[in-house]
């Protein structure tokens, strides 16, 4: 039983680490703000969720698990709100999302 929980938590931790890494790569390499926001939100949902659940499995039924659940709850509440506020502020400032295939503009600017 212990081994099963260990294996499960290893899998979730590794998958969470992979999601965080991919999201960071996307936030660095994507061509414009909205695609970058899409990549960054990946780390906030899947990355944070999987890593925190993996640690929760390791912690077992202790106070640490409750704290981790509170952290996860706060992250799941606040990061979509921040993303929404950021996107609406960017749109209101006149930064329109492009339609169709997007080419790398940053290098030419």
């Amino acid at each position: 039983m212990n081994l099963a929980i260990d294996i499960l938590s290893w899998i979730t931790l590794t998958a969470g680490g992979a999601f965080v890494f991919i999201g960071g790569l996307g936030a660095l390499r994507m061509p414009n703000l909205y695609t970058r926001m899409h990549a960054a939100s990946l780390t906030d949902t899947m990355g944070a969720g999987l890593i925190l659940v993996g640690i929760m499995l390791q912690a077992g039924a202790t106070l640490a698990t409750i704290k981790l659940a509170a952290i996860l709850l706060f992250l799941l509440l606040t990061s979509p709100t921040a993303s929404n506020a950021l996107a609406s502020a960017a749109i209101l400032s006149g930064l329109q999302p492009e339609e169709g295939p997007v080419i790398h503009r940053d290098k030419t600017e």
Partner: protein, 96 residues
């Protein structure tokens, strides 16, 4: 196993810092700052178990809240400034 997650989080924080330095618009920088804060929360939670110090979880909890409030405050400031600049532009257009 915690080491792998710690290293992945640290690399992602470095990439977020890179985006914050490169980012053409101010919103890119803000997005990177928000991401950096979220990754700090994750890093604190993982390090708490890596070094066996569960007290770090309290820091992570507080950091999650402060990071959100900070990003919203900066966004509000930028929005106010953009509104003000737009209003000044319209006023100067009318007077000319």
């Amino acid at each position: 196993m915690y080491y792998a997650v710690t290293v992945a989080t640290l690399i992602t924080m470095a990439m977020a810092l890179g985006r914050a330095l490169l980012g053409p618009t101010i919103y890119d920088r803000l997005l990177a700052a928000n991401m950096f804060g979220t990754k700090t929360v994750l890093l604190l939670s993982v390090v708490a178990f890596l070094y066996g110090r569960p007290n770090f979880l309290d820091l992570a909890l507080v950091y999650a809240l402060i990071n959100f409030i900070g990003v919203i405050a900066v966004l509000e400031f930028i929005r106010e400034r953009a509104d003000r600049e737009k209003a000044e532009e319209m006023a100067s257009d009318e007077s000319s």
